[in-house]
């Protein structure tokens, strides 16, 4: 099994908004679509990709219709390893999850379900919370690690 990654929503959205410019998130998004970065995704995380891409301030920038967003998500889903972590499983006492910021529970659930996956995020708050429990990377570190530049 190759090393797996869980890609946070901010990386996808940052990649969309800076696509085609010199940008590490654009490189990551292209590599995800190309299948060069093996990544896991859950239904909850995929739904969040969609919700954030549909937030008014984000729509103002990409000017996509919801069908365009769905086309991108369909492409991403094709490339991803789908996982279905339990909604509210009891925490594993041998591997207790960290106290993450409120609202990040779906990311934590995915990482708990897939302990070998590394979190890729641009959110320092979440990276700090997860570091030590799971491997974490910034988008720039992922680009350097996999030679995506």
């Amino acid at each position: 099994m190759p090393r797996l990654f869980a890609v946070d929503t901010n990386v996808i959205v940052g990649g969309v908004l800076s696509f085609g410019r010199p940008s590490v998130t654009s490189l990551v998004l292209t590599a995800l679509l190309d299948g060069r970065v093996p990544f896991v995704i859950s239904a909850d995380l995929l739904a969040e990709y969609r919700r954030v891409l549909l937030r008014p301030i984000i729509v103002e920038r990409h000017v996509w219709a919801s069908t365009d967003i769905d086309r991108l998500l369909a492409e991403l889903t094709t490339a991803a390893y789908l996982r279905q972590p339990p909604d509210d499983g009891a925490p594993d006492t041998d591997d207790p999850p960290p106290d993450a910021p409120a609202g990040d529970e779906h990311v934590i659930r995915l990482l708990a379900h897939e302990p070998g996956a590394s979190l890729v995020s641009g959110d320092g708050w979440l990276l700090d919370a997860v570091r030590g429990w799971r491997d974490v990377l910034t988008p720039a570190e992922l680009v350097a690690l996999l030679g995506l530049g």
Partner: protein, 85 residues
């Protein structure tokens, strides 16, 4: 443009012809639309869509990432606040 052959039931083929006639489209156009709706996109069209989005946003990498982090964080805070205590 490549050509292909597909096998349909008589019933499905009749429905396809009727749908094309009703909408004033060719069978090829109906099939193309159905594939689009099924999420069968050409890779080029998705990359083109992304390139247009990046150009339209007018954001630098740093600005794009800051906005993406802020909006993801806001989305999560709003969802957390909506949840029953």
């Amino acid at each position: 443009m490549p050509r292909t052959t597909i096998t349909l039931s008589d019933e499905r083929y009749r429905a396809l012809k009727q749908a094309a006639a009703r909408r004033g489209l060719t069978i090829t156009e109906i099939v193309d639309q159905a594939l689009e709706l099924a999420g069968v996109n050409t890779r080029e069209s998705v990359m083109q869509m992304l390139a247009e989005a990046g150009r339209r946003s007018g954001l630098t990498e740093e600005q794009a990432m800051r906005l993406a982090v802020e909006e993801t964080r806001s989305e999560r805070a709003e969802r957390a606040a909506e949840r029953p205590a």
